[in-house]
């Protein structure tokens, strides 16, 4: 019995260590890149707008269900939202390529992308 319990504890530890190791490897593979140029906004997987990060602005995304996106000092953040959990507000600000803010209740995703932020805003 005692032996079984020790064995189980060892298995528990190995399991936890395995998951933590996987998390470590994944975060190395997925780590954000350098400074990004665009905040790309998509809803339900469809891109609806992209804003330059080097121009300060504030946009309200959506009507009934809304999130307010503020771009300031090269970083994007959601400053206000009427979703229940407001996780998106806590998540920001983001400025590096690959960083993401999600609002699951509103199916909203804001992601920083790289590339040259040249020319006019490509707002669709």
């Amino acid at each position: 019995m005692q032996k079984d319990r020790k064995k189980a504890a060892l298995h528990d530890l190995l399991l936890a260590a395995g998951v933590l190791l996987a998390a470590g490897v994944l975060s190395l593979l997925l780590r954000p890149g350098g400074g990004g140029a665009w905040a790309v906004v998509s809803v339900d997987g469809q891109e609806i707008a992209r804003y330059r990060l080097d121009q300060d602005r504030e946009e309200t995304i959506g009507q009934g269900d809304y999130n307010i996106l503020r771009i300031e000092n090269g970083a994007a953040a959601v400053t206000e939202a009427n979703c229940g959990d407001r996780t998106c507000v806590v998540m920001g600000p983001i400025s590096r390529e690959g960083e993401t803010i999600v609002c699951l209740p509103h199916r909203l995703l804001i992601r920083v992308e790289g590339g040259e932020a040249s020319g006019v805003d490509a707002v669709s």
Binding site: D12, G84, L109
Partner: protein, 163 residues
């Protein structure tokens, strides 16, 4: 007859407890927790039901809780995330428990991780992007920590509570 009503009472008791724990967690979020990270207090009832009752009982208690919590605090999407998380979590826990190779803490750790993985998979489907994998490392770590905490608490409860 006696047995049947006893069972109904146990269900009701555990479901009510799960609801209270869900509410408590929503009312008192963990201080300084990263976004989206929760302890999953209500999973204590799932772990308890899995060990002291049966997988079927654990599943119906979890299902009832998820439905009621989503109706009161959430929306259709939070229902989908919670269902996926709860289902994967229970499936993984039942599987690991069956091997007999893990303690309640290990089983609960796997459940915590399964819960978070299930939720992010549904979120990827809803948002139509695999980019959410970016959150996976944080969710894996928080799943391990929350699962260990719930498992340790669950071990005490399973040993001491007569129901």
């Amino acid at each position: 007859m006696e047995k049947k009503s006893g069972r109904a009472a146990r269900y009701a008791l555990l479901t009510a407890l799960a609801l209270v724990l869900s509410w408590l967690e929503a009312a008192l979020p963990l201080p300084a927790a990263p976004p989206g990270v929760k302890l999953g207090l209500a999973n204590l009832t799932a772990v308890f039901a899995l060990y002291r009752l049966s997988l079927r009982d654990a599943a119906s208690i979890s299902l009832t809780r998820v439905l009621l919590v989503s109706l009161t605090f959430g929306n259709a999407y939070s229902l989908a995330y919670s269902l996926a998380g709860g289902a994967l979590s229970l499936a993984v826990m039942a599987l690991l428990k069956k091997t007999g190779k893990f303690s309640i803490v290990g089983v609960s750790v796997a459940g915590g991780v399964g819960h978070n993985v299930g939720q992010i998979l549904v979120a990827m489907g809803v948002l139509g992007t695999a980019r959410l994998a970016w959150y996976l490392p944080a969710l894996l770590v928080s799943g391990v920590l929350a699962g260990a905490a719930i498992g340790a608490a669950g071990g005490l409860v399973v040993r001491r509570v007569r129901l």
